[in-house]
């Protein structure tokens, strides 16, 4: 019987199958950060347990770290509670001999950017992390899922997860993206179509011509937001693009092992005739730049559209009215008439080198608009930052009046000092526009790096295709 990619990954990691339907799945890679691991390490210590294996684990602080004064290391964290949390990660990693890219290490960064960058995320792996955006790593034909802290402890102690197999869902993306339309627009359009719970109980495989034509960076952006449509994991088949990205990465297999790995990886795609429990399709050529207008990642419009009227939202009318109220917007208002206070280019969704290149292309030779209080670029890792500086991207941003920061999650979730003030409006390349996500009372609009850069130089939303075509 033909198997889907998810079927193959599930079966190759099955340790035991229980009669009640639960299964024990082996975990190849476990990424850790400071926020969801301390209680897991405490649990391990209380139970007198050691990690089952040390080498599958890699840690880096990201959620809570400052994006300024990094030369001061951990002492540069002004907030004492945050400092304790980062120090606790350092202490736990030292105690259990877990490799950690600390604040001083150039490889430190957002955990979902660091893993692939180091070649620590490989095709055919099971990857977990106490963070819902772990779905990012599925771009490498891996089964990657976010877990809670109890599961972090469970994986540390047993190298396994106890779970039931999810259903298979296919998102077919044919055609090709037009100039000025990016993978972020694609994933926002998908979420808009299937809803924030369209993928619940499923693992999504993104497939089709448009997916095959995406770079690894762009693929990661798509898989990153699988969770925003309810799917714990998103994934894509292995191909030449995956191969090219991984070759020569520090933790990728070398020499003969690389050759044998390739043999195994070639099979990491759904077989012809695979059956999916749910399917949807979208034509990439129909997608225009997307902008979220509400407080859920499914509340999205095209750049040419107006803010929807709740009276036409059917059963979602209350939800939409509430969202408009929170966002301070009027029904029928063109989205391009919305002015911004801040612009944030960063996060595990869009802080890779390609994202920064695209944003820089838009910004080059222009200036931040006067009404924009702050436009901030936060590279996803120390290595992304270094690469961008070698290419001179930082100068383009600085010359335009943007801020060039040190790596971390930053204003995606605003756990550190980077946050929106009450009622401040932000064009953000991050993944969630929930109430208060970027700061108490803050108003988030999700967009691609190109659209964020465009908003920063124009002051309001505008169609970046006009500039890039």
């Amino acid at each position: 019987m033909p198997k889907t990619l998810y079927d193959k990954l599930w079966e190759s990691h099955l340790v035991a199958h229980r009669e009640d339907g639960a299964a024990l799945i082996y975990i190849d890679r476990h990424l850790l950060h400071e926020v969801t691991s301390p209680q897991a390490f405490s649990g391990l210590k209380e139970a007198g347990l050691q990690p089952w294996r040390v080498s599958p684990n890699i840690a880096t602080p990201d959620h809570n770290v400052p994006t300024v004064k990094r030369e001061l290391g951990i002492q540069g964290i002004e907030d004492e509670i945050s400092r304790i949390q980062v120090k606790t990660l350092d202490d736990n990693c030292r105690k259990f001999a877990i490799p950690e890219f600390t604040l001083e290490d150039i490889r430190q960064g957002i955990v979902h950017i660091v893993g692939p960058e180091q070649g620590a995320t490989l095709p055919g792996m099971t990857v977990v992390c106490g963070d819902s955006h772990t779905s990012t790593h599925g771009a490498f034909a891996a089964l990657a899922q976010g877990i809670g802290t109890s599961e972090v402890e469970h994986v540390l102690a047993t190298q396994c997860l106890l779970q039931k197999k999810a259903k298979n869902m296919a998102v077919q993306v044919d055609g090709s993206l037009n100039t000025g339309v990016f993978s972020k627009d694609l994933i926002l359009a998908i979420i808009r179509q299937i809803g924030t719970d369209g993928g619940t109980g499923h693992v999504i495989e993104y497939r089709g011509e448009a997916i095959r034509n995406l770079s690894m960076e762009a693929r990661m952006t798509v898989c990153n937001m699988a969770i925003e449509s309810g799917a714990r994991a998103g994934m894509m088949a292995f191909d030449q693009t995956t191969f090219d990205y991984l070759q020569g990465r520090p933790y990728a297999p070398k020499k003969e092992e690389w050759e044998s790995a390739l043999d195994v990886w070639q099979d990491l795609a759904s077989d012809d005739g695979s059956v999916f429990d749910a399917q949807c399709s979208i034509d990439a050529g129909d997608i225009r730049p997307q902008i979220s207008w509400g407080t859920s990642p499914e509340m999205v419009v095209d750049v040419e559209e107006r803010i929807p009227d709740p009276k036409q939202s059917g059963s979602s009318a209350d939800l939409h009215t509430r969202a408009l109220d929170y966002m301070g917007l009027e029904p029928g208002q063109p989205i391009t008439s919305v002015y911004l206070d801040r612009v944030f280019i960063g996060s595990c969704t869009n802080a890779r080198i390609e994202d920064l290149r695209i944003a820089a292309k838009v910004v080059k030779g222009r200036k931040k608009a006067k009404n924009i209080r702050q436009a901030m670029v936060v590279p996803g890792s120390g290595l992304v930052k270094q690469q961008a500086e070698e290419e001179g991207l930082h100068s383009i941003f600085l010359d335009a009046g943007f801020e060039w920061r040190a790596p971390g999650c930053s204003m995606c979730l605003a756990m550190n000092a980077d946050k929106l003030g009450n009622r401040e409006r932000c064009a953000s390349t991050s993944n969630r526009n929930f109430e208060g996500r970027q700061g108490y009372g803050g108003r988030t609009h999700l967009v691609s790096p190109a659209m964020a850069a465009m908003a920063a130089v124009v002051g309001h939303f505008a169609d970046v295709r006009e500039l890039l075509q």
Binding site: D20, Q85, L122, M415
Partner: protein, 219 residues
């Protein structure tokens, strides 16, 4: 883990769909390295009239009298009723810890987000998925009856309504049911499979040795 068998309690109606974990427990409270101390910050930005910070005295804060959690008739509630896709967003288990500490034992909704659902079960909370029409009916009943309570019986998989209004049967995964009723420690349970895990590793080391390489942090 605490066991769940039969539980009776007042129902707390959170009449919103897609309640995300950022609302259940906002990010600023995730800086804690402990598993407890979250109950005063459950639904923090809906529950209080100003932004909350860690280590604040909750008694000195201005509460939002319009939010259900603050209405005297729902004091001591332990069964949370809500709409579809409850618990979406971030995987933060702090959301479940906050609910649990507040006293919530059971949640009823037409659907739950996957990671949140799993986090509930691992902390002894029972999430029950019911048809949207049944959820509508329960919202109606809560609305009209002060102190509306339910009895949730996990072994029998039924919810008993007050005053002979009948009962509602519900589905539960057999593994989750067993874990909840016995209050099983999953790590101990998995470690009973230690031999199977080692056998898997021996097999895989032959097939995919690169997955067992030591990571040299200096490389």
């Amino acid at each position: 883990m605490k066991a769940f068998t039969v539980h009776s309690g007042i129902v707390l109606p959170i009449d919103r769909s897609h309640v995300d974990t950022d609302q259940i427990i906002p990010k600023q409270f995730l800086k804690s390295i402990k598993r407890s101390g979250f109950q005063d910050n459950l639904f923090d930005s809906w529950r209080y009239l100003e932004e909350g910070h860690p280590e604040q005295n909750a008694n000195e804060r201005r509460i939002n009298p319009d939010f259900v959690l603050n209405k005297p008739r729902f004091a001591g509630a332990s069964i949370l009723l809500s709409r579809e896709n409850f618990g979406c967003g971030s995987s933060r288990e702090h959301a479940v810890w906050a609910l649990s500490e507040y006293g919530i034992c059971c949640l009823l909704a037409p659907s739950f987000a996957d990671i949140f659902f799993s986090n509930c079960v691992k902390n002894g909370l029972l999430p029950i998925t019911l048809d949207a029409s049944l959820i509508d009916r329960l919202f109606e009943l809560v609305h009209h009856q002060e102190g509306f309570s339910l009895t949730v019986n996990l072994p029998d998989q039924c919810i008993l309504l007050p005053e002979n209004e009948g009962s509602i049967a519900f589905e539960v995964d057999p593994f989750h049911k067993d874990c909840l009723i016995k209050g099983l420690n999953e790590i101990e349970l998995t470690l009973t499979y230690a031999d199977a895990i080692r056998a898997y590793e021996t097999r895989q080391k032959q097939l995919t040795p690169w997955l067992f390489a030591d990571l040299d942090p200096k490389s």
